[in-house]
């Protein structure tokens, strides 16, 4: 039996310890905010924050995050009003929206590490997150807005 701590709550798992965290979150814990896009750490759709760092849940086993704090979009902010979330809404960032949870988690992790990222730092930090709809210009502007106060 593995015990995980997700958004401050204990979750137990007695299945395959190698199960990618992504599928545990989505299919076993019902936390469907975190998305599948590639399964190979190539797109960032599954980004969650573990301790203070963005990780790709699709290549992280459940056993890798035992005793660590997992934060998903559902736990990012109690009312959904994290500065990044607010900036995203203010600039109407999303199109289809499917990549946006991963983008928001990545941006939130970036701001934990670097509260005032510049243009190049934003582009570098967000380069692992693909948006097929092409919202990049607004993503960049929204990260900038979130870092300067919404």
């Amino acid at each position: 039996m593995i015990t995980l701590k997700i958004n401050g709550q204990q979750k137990n798992w007695d299945g395959d310890p190698d199960l990618p965290l992504l599928w545990f979150l989505r299919d076993e814990a019902g936390l469907t905010g975190t998305k599948y896009g590639c399964g190979q750490a190539l797109c960032g759709a599954c980004t969650v924050i573990v301790d203070k760092q963005a990780i790709r849940a699709c290549i992280t086993s459940v056993s890798d995050v035992v005793d660590r704090e997992v934060t998903t979009i559902e736990g990012l902010h109690p009312t959904g009003d994290h500065a990044v979330q607010k900036a995203w809404r203010q600039l109407n960032v999303p199109q289809c929206g499917f990549c946006q949870v991963g983008q928001i988690m990545q941006a939130a992790a970036l701001l934990l590490e670097n509260p005032k990222p510049n243009h190049d730092q934003i582009r570098e930090a967000m380069a692992g997150n693909i948006c097929r709809c092409g919202c990049y210009q607004r993503i960049e502007n929204a990260v900038h807005l979130a870092s300067t106060g919404v």
Binding site: K35, G37, Q40, R89, G97, Y136
Partner: protein, 772 residues
């Protein structure tokens, strides 16, 4: 005025997924299940809103203009408006209901959206494809809103005992200004529902100058908040009690099938419950599944791991030798010989012979995969002769039809619940993935989710065609273009539906080949044969991608040959402001629109070129190593022109400092979403130009995920994309927005690269071609 209020009619979707905030019981009992009436094609003539016809009536099930189908008002005043088209990022789930709210004078903050399930008899055509929603539904949605308003006004007038002409709906209430009385929509709902539905002909539409929402762009997408907090529900997010998770190993070669398989190792994977063969259809399989071997598990991760452990022997069938390098050579050979003539003006042969100079451009564009961020996925629950589907489908009505046909049950027994789509781009117009889920659910007697992996998406999709476009242009001594022969060779989408389809269909020929707008005396368009070796499907902007690429590259090549400015060359070729006559084209598709309302108007094409040149600073001074390129194209009956600025360093590294695009899409609803569509189209255009290619070897797709099939990332993205929307004239019908931004991007980029480096790229993707 009501949708169905019978609790038995509640769709299962609403049991699991939050669709709106309306308490169902609070919705008034109203006019029940009336089917509404069907308009062949809406025509309206109003001051400031002149008559125009659209092709809406030609679509399956046409349009339904009935407020009882689309609008419900609760006693607390909450107005629920049905969104009957699929939301994949264009904002349509917001913009169509917003049109209704505008006309009925509803206050947007008190409007809730209800997503329609698949039922085209009830709602009209739902196929969200072809950049059609606004152009087909602007008027019907206005009529629906105006009908609802008229009924509310009628109810208030009756209650007060005054003539209806004395009352007016204003911001969620009806006002009698003579007496100062006012009454809210909620209080009027029950009485309004008893009013008869007014005839469309007698409706008074709002004067556009009184619009509060239409054309303003200050209303955000209704799903915006849900998207940012992770509660927005996509197909992948639907969960039902007792649901099984499935992935399927499909034949790697189109038309192949399972010869034998061994599932023993897969069954040993923790969480795997079952391994089974699933039915496939012989090629050409239309939208039917490819078949293969399914692994059923307690979660998706286990199903994928189980699938990795399968041992399958495939029978590859007739396409086992499909090979992209050889196929390209076949297409090129075909393009160098005469083909079926699909447009002919003057005598091109003689004109080319008599030309002072002939410039030849042969362009190659490879297969592309849609790669929506949400790969295909669907949930099905089939019980006896009833089926319920949840999924990100572009065509809810088509899905219902195909699922019913495949299961052999009546359509009325199939409920298709449309979730948000995590991108569509044409892939999700094909409902094979929903049929797969239905077949598996039937077999297993339990709800099933079929999840496609990214590899499945890239390897087993309906690919954008692969094409060679060859243009020969003849110039006279003065540098005037006197002859234009364009041969287009590409496997047709028709091959997905019928064996032996060797020529492109009118809807493909009509995307930038036969509708080429240049003023040239001798024009001939030809379509030599090409046999498909894989499934071909619609991809955002479809054949316009290769056509605009070829035509607009050729414009710049002609400018180079005659030492002219490319923008001047483009305007000269477009020629005088006129309506283009295409008498020699047998079946001019024109995006399904009547030519009278939607002609090829070169004045509008010139206008976007001139506008983008002015705003985008054509000819401005730019640093060394930079270049500007321009391209213009009409597609989905909209006009668009793009200027791209590139920078290429000495190692061949390409960056895009700036993009400027002007679009004329006629009367529009939400300029903010137009802007986001154009920004996105620039990214998609750059992505396909730099990286886009699906290639085959031994019949199999050689790519599988974002490592070998890259998509554009933020660090390669244009620094800025400026969008200029041409203000519509009072009579300009609405036209497409979702797709038209894509086609001109790649040629503008390639022309800019030429300006920067002197290197002319004629085959996409760019890949390493710029590296010295």
């Amino acid at each position: 005025m009501n949708m169905s209020t019978n609790p038995k009619k509640l769709r299962g979707f609403e049991r699991y997924v939050k669709v709106d905030n309306v308490s169902r019981r609070s919705i008034l009992k109203g006019l029940g299940l009336a089917g509404g009436f069907v308009l062949a094609a809406p025509v309206m003539s109003r001051p400031g809103f002149a008559a125009y016809k659209t092709g809406a009536g030609e679509m399956p099930h046409g349009t339904v203009v009935d407020p009882r189908v689309f609008v419900a008002i609760a006693p607390d005043g909450i107005v629920t408006i049905v969104a009957h088209r699929a939301e994949m990022g264009t904002g349509v789930r917001t913009s169509l209901p917003m049109i209704v709210a505008e006309e009925m004078e509803a206050d947007w903050s008190r409007v809730r959206i209800q997503q329609a399930h698949g039922d085209e008899v009830k709602f009209g055509n739902q196929d969200t494809d072809g950049s059609r929603s606004t152009r087909h539904y602007l008027i019907p949605m206005r009529q629906i809103g105006a009908s609802a308003r008229t009924m509310l006004e009628g109810a208030a007038a009756k209650r007060w005992g005054v003539p209806a002409t004395e009352v007016k709906a204003v911001n969620h209430e009806v006002v009698h200004s003579a007496s100062g009385r006012r009454i809210g929509f909620g209080d009027l709902a029950a009485d309004a529902a008893k009013q008869s539905v007014p005839s469309v002909e007698g409706l008074r539409l709002k004067d556009p100058k009184d619009f509060r929402y239409l054309g303003k762009g200050q209303i955000s997408m209704v799903d915006l908040r849900d998207i940012t907090v992770g509660t927005a529900r996509y197909g992948a997010d639907v969960r039902l009690p007792g649901m099984k998770y499935a992935v399927i190993a499909r034949p790697p070669v189109t038309g192949g099938k399972v010869a034998s398989f061994d599932g023993a190792a897969a069954m040993k994977v923790s969480g795997v419950e079952k391994v089974m063969e699933v039915k496939g259809w012989p090629w050409p399989s239309k939208f039917q599944p490819l078949g293969g071997v399914a692994v059923i598990a307690r979660n998706t991760g286990a199903a994928i791991k189980g699938r990795d452990a399968l041992k399958i022997v495939w029978d590859d069938g007739a396409n086992g030798k499909y090979e992209s390098v050889a196929y390209r050579a076949e297409l090129e050979a075909a393009a160098r010989k005469p083909g079926l003539v699909v447009r002919k003006e003057g005598d091109v042969e003689a004109a080319l012979k008599g030309a002072d100079k002939v410039i030849v451009g042969e362009y190659y564009l490879p297969h592309l995969a849609h790669v929506a961020m949400e790969p295909p996925v669907a949930v099905a629950d089939v019980k006896g002769d009833k089926a319920e589907i949840w999924g990100p489908v572009q065509s809810a009505g088509g899905t219902r039809e195909d699922v019913a046909k495949t299961l052999g049950i009546p359509q009325e027994n199939v409920t298709v619940n449309v979730t948000l789509l995590g991108g569509g781009f044409g892939r999700k117009s094909k409902c094979d993935f929903a049929i797969e889920a239905a077949l598996l659910s039937k077999e297993l007697g339990a709800p099933v989710k079929v999840q496609w992996t990214r590899e499945d998406d890239i390897r087993n999709g309906f690919l954008h065609t692969v094409s060679v476009e060859r243009i020969e242009a003849g110039l006279d001594k003065s540098g005037k273009v006197t002859a234009w022969r364009h041969r287009s060779v590409a496997p047709s989408i028709a091959s997905t539906f019928a064996a032996g389809a060797l020529h492109q269909a009118p809807f493909e020929l009509g995307m930038g080949l036969v509708d080429m707008p240049f003023e040239i005396a001798n024009v001939q368009c030809e379509n030599p044969e090409a046999a498909a070796r894989t499934r071909i499907g619609w991809f955002r902007s479809v054949s316009n991608i290769p056509r605009a690429f070829a035509v607009q590259s050729m414009v710049a090549e002609l400018a180079q040959a005659t030492k002219r400015d490319p923008k001047d060359m483009l305007l000269e070729l477009i020629g005088s402001p006129r309506i283009v006559k295409l008498d020699s084209v047998k079946d001019l598709w024109n995006y399904g629109e009547p030519y009278d309302s939607y002609p090829i108007d070169t004045a509008r094409l010139r206008k976007v070129v001139e506008l983008v040149a002015e705003k985008g600073g054509w000819g401005r001074s730019i640093p060394k190593g930079h270049g500007l390129g321009i391209a213009a194209h009409r597609s989905f009956v909209s006009y668009i022109a793009t200027i791209v600025e590139v920078a290429v360093d000495d190692k061949g590294k390409l960056t895009v400092p700036r993009v400027d695009t002007a679009i004329d899409c006629g009367t529009y609803v939400n300029p903010e979403r137009i802007q986001s569509q154009i920004e996105g189209a620039a990214i998609m255009g750059l992505s396909l130009a730099k990286h886009g290619a699906v290639t085959f070897k031994d019949g199999k797709v050689q790519q599988g995920n974002f490592d070998d099939s890259p998509l554009l990332r933020i660090d390669e993205s244009p620094a800025v994309t400026n969008v200029y929307i041409v203000p519509p004239g009072p009579d300009t019908p609405p036209s497409g927005v979702g797709e038209p931004g894509v086609p001109p991007f790649a040629p503008a980029l390639i022309n800019a690269i030429f300006a920067a480096t002197g290197k002319r790229i004629r085959a996409l993707p760019i890949g390493k071609q710029l590296e010295a």
